[in-house]
Symmetry: C2
Subunit: 128 residues, 2 copies
Amino acid sequence: MVTKETVRDPADADVTRADSLAREIFAGVANKWTLLVINVLEQRTLRFTELRTEVDGISHKMLTQTLRHLERDGLVDRTVYAVVPPRVEYQLTEAGQALRSTVNRMCAWTRTYLDHIEAARLRFDSMS
Amino acid sequence: MVTKETVRDPADADVTRADSLAREIFAGVANKWTLLVINVLEQRTLRFTELRTEVDGISHKMLTQTLRHLERDGLVDRTVYAVVPPRVEYQLTEAGQALRSTVNRMCAWTRTYLDHIEAARLRFDSMS
DNA sequence: CTGCATCCCGCATGATACTG
DNA sequence: CAGTATCATGCGGGATGCAG
């Protein structure tokens, strides 16, 4: 009673929707600053300025932008204290922690293959 | 002669060098196209055009660029067959495979938290 | 301290065309 | 089919200033 010929499962629409959304999320998360911010925010709670100094080369603007993005996606919690001067703290949510664990593996990979990659580059560059 | 004064452990130089190199490699790899290419190149061997169609939105130029980068770092092997028309095949090296497994986890993460993130966005956007 | 808006530059990216 | 070169440009991202 279900199928007939080339009729497509109604769920197909959802599949493609989910796919494109997944791609979008993946692309949004797969960038230098986002991953670096997530990485320094391991189980700690940090303030804006602390993040600014820990993430190394990040600019004021990009940090704000990245944090807004992460907050919107529910990967970090933003806590504002009504004091003066303002105090705002950021910490990873459960989803953020989950992502961080994958980022950690990527960092580990980098460390593991450091020499390997360096050697490959020398080899490659010595050609031409 | 060698200067004294702020004498630092000789190993320190290597540590910071390795650190900056690691950051550079991480940053180089942490971008949309690179991760997507690595992802579609799971244990398969693909030709240029096949990659072009599978990676979805990637342009001819960016694919070439990304592949050269990956090849230089020793993450993909490039095999050229001296035939006409030319046939060039790409496949992940062991290092590439290792990286791919981390990318896979990231993809899995995306799928797992899809709904979570979508909901967070709706919540966030409904504010203002 | 944190956040937002504005201006501006340069690079990354895309489009196109040409070789082997 | 695969790769390179050239040109145009849009957007990322830095600097600065102002507000709360």
